[in-house]
């Protein structure tokens, strides 16, 4: 009997892992304007996971493979005349997800699996899943420790990075791979749509709180972990969907910070005006 035998305890560990991972990776996602693309990734990994489950192959493999397909598809479709990346992303998103829906519906158990995939099921996380998520988190952290500075430069100043001779294509690919892996880790817990909340929200909130680069990561991670824990707690107390609870907390925190900084901005401007008038 270990502490991890309780569903709730496992859910809490998963929440911490996913919250931190999402928060940190989210800083890049927000900086490179990748939220919609991340959405497409979450939707498109779905058929990969279904096929992987059918074939008895590791889910990460299946999900990851389809994620790569999506990247290729978006790059291919987005280049045609009259096309653009947001349209291509929309097509990849809906096409990928429809494929998954069709595959699942061709099995039995259509309803339950589909809903679970869309809105997540943290409480169904097993110890094996925890190990996998932890491995992903460690892997991503290692990668960020190694090439974090380069990734950051490429994220905030692509032209400057290229000018410095950094292999921008490779870095872009590394970044997309990191996002994809984060998505595959987060989706089982939160579902396709709400995974984006944990990846984008904490980072976007952190961005409102500071203009400096270094604090963004710990702040985003902290917000991510906090909201994830709060969400698990609320969902076990009041019997509501876990993924949705987490996403709601992320949204509330974001909204509160947004309003707070907006008010602070107003006050500052009013004070500055008064000072200027007197001067």
């Amino acid at each position: 009997m270990s502490w991890l035998d309780s569903t709730v305890h496992r859910a809490l560990v998963e929440a911490v892992l996913v919250g931190a991972l999402g928060g940190v990776v989210g800083v890049f996602v927000v900086a490179r304007r990748l939220p919609f693309f991340t959405m497409a990734l979450t939707h498109a990994t779905f058929p990969g996971i279904v096929i992987a489950a059918l074939l008895g192959v590791n889910l990460y493999l299946g999900g990851g493979l389809f994620g790569l397909l999506v990247v290729a598809a978006v790059l291919a479709f987005g280049r045609g005349r009259g096309q653009d990346f947001s349209t291509a992303t929309g097509i990849a998103l809906s096409g990928g997800f429809a494929l998954g829906v069709v595959l699942v519906s061709a099995q039995d158990g259509f309803t339950k699996d589909l809903a679970a995939y869309t809105v997540g099921d943290v409480l169904a996380v097993g110890t094996g899943d925890l190990v996998a998520t932890a491995a992903v988190a460690v892997g991503v952290l290692l990668l960020l420790a190694l090439v974090g500075k380069e990734l950051l430069l490429a994220a905030f100043d692509p032209v400057g990075a290229a000018a410095l001779g950094l292999p921008t294509v490779l870095l872009d690919f590394a970044l997309l791979a990191v996002v994809e892996v984060t998505v595959v880790a987060t989706v089982p817990a939160l579902g396709t749509i709400l995974a984006v909340a944990l990846i984008v929200g904490p980072a976007a909130t952190a961005r409102l709180l500071t203009d400096r680069l270094a604090p963004l990561f710990p702040i985003a991670a902290a917000i991510g972990v906090g909201c994830a824990l709060a969400g698990v707690w609320v969902s076990t107390r009041w019997n509501v969907a876990t993924g949705a609870s987490i996403a709601l907390f992320v949204g509330l925190v974001f909204g509160a910070v947004f309003l707070g900084t907006a008010v602070r901005g107003r006050v500052r401007r009013a004070v500055a005006r008064r000072v200027a008038v007197r001067a």
Binding site: V30, M39, S105, F110, A247
Partner: protein, 293 residues
């Protein structure tokens, strides 16, 4: 003949009419979404309308869905404008936050009901084969209203899409027009919720217009072509899922099958457009060579 036979069944016929109407509606609105590069905004709207659908259904049954969705659409449009007003949040991040938070509200509300899973599935993925005549009528009305509205506003819409600065200088009320478009998208979602669900509506909005654009450079061709692609994908999708079910015993979700047919058509259109341009280029090249000789 398998392309027409299934539709002798009343429920299949109704499903067909619904999808043809939706194809025309989404094709028209979708061209504007394409021109304005609003795929993410539209995707956001499809997800933020979800809590409106859920709460409307909760309060007033099937009839409440329409009004709940409409209210949610308007709320989203307003919130989006507020969030992006002073540029402190990038539009992408703002959309993602709106999308996930409001969607989560919907999920939470549904999860507190019993029959959670099947209700959720119906909202998210639709059940086109259970469309009633009342719903057909609703879809028809929405289609007529939206298409008429866009037709009346076509000149300012075109100018604004092409040249927002010039539009403003000419006195066009850009903010109002944008709100109109957002409301139009919300209406498409409202109409499509029953047929394909909120998740797959984005396909109806984005794919037919993109396919049509790959085939033509002229708006006067693109718009009807988009409607045609949308409608015929609905028809083919129904045929395929029916055949699979009746002929091969494989149950394929109808809404999702329609989307797959759409994406296949898009792929074909893309290839056809590519070939056409290559042929056009080589013809131009040989014409130059001939005239130089």
């Amino acid at each position: 003949m398998m392309f027409f036979e299934p539709f002798q069944l009343p429920f299949m016929a109704r499903a067909l009419v619904e999808l043809v109407l939706l194809g025309a509606l989404a094709g028209t609105v979708g061209v504007l979404v394409l021109l304005r590069r609003l795929a993410f905004v539209s995707d956001t709207l499809t997800h933020t309308v979800f809590p409106g659908v859920v709460i409307g259904h909760l309060m007033a049954g099937d009839g409440g869905i329409f009004w709940g969705a409409l209210a949610a659409g308007v709320v989203t449009a307003v919130l989006l404008t507020l969030l992006t007003h002073r540029r402190r949040v990038s539009e992408d991040a703002a959309l993602a936050m709106l999308l996930t938070t409001l969607f989560a509200v919907g999920v939470v509300v549904v999860s507190r009901q019993t029959g959670f899973t099947s209700d959720l599935t119906a909202f998210l993925f639709g059940r086109v084969l259970t469309v009633t005549e009342t719903q057909l009528a609703q879809t028809a009305v929405v289609t007529v209203v939206v298409v008429a509205l866009l037709a009346v506003l076509r000149r300012p819409l075109l100018l604004r899409a092409f040249d927002p600065e010039g539009a403003r200088a000419a006195g066009v009320r850009v903010g109002l027009l944008d709100l109109v478009l957002n409301v139009a998208v919300a209406l498409v979602v409202v109409a499509a919720v029953k047929a394909v669900g909120t998740i797959l509506v984005i396909a109806l909005l984005v794919v037919p217009a993109a396919a049509a654009r790959g085939l033509s450079d002229r708006l006067v061709v693109i718009v009807p072509l988009a409607c045609l692609v949308g409608a015929s994908a609905g028809w083919l999708g129904l045929v395929v899922s029916y055949e699979a079910s009746v002929g091969y015993g494989v149950r394929l979700a109808s809404g999702a099958t329609v989307v797959l047919v759409l994406v296949a058509m898009y792929g074909l259109a893309h290839v056809a457009g590519f070939v056409r341009r290559k042929v056009g280029l080589s013809r131009a090249r040989s014409a130059i060579v001939e005239s130089a000789a």
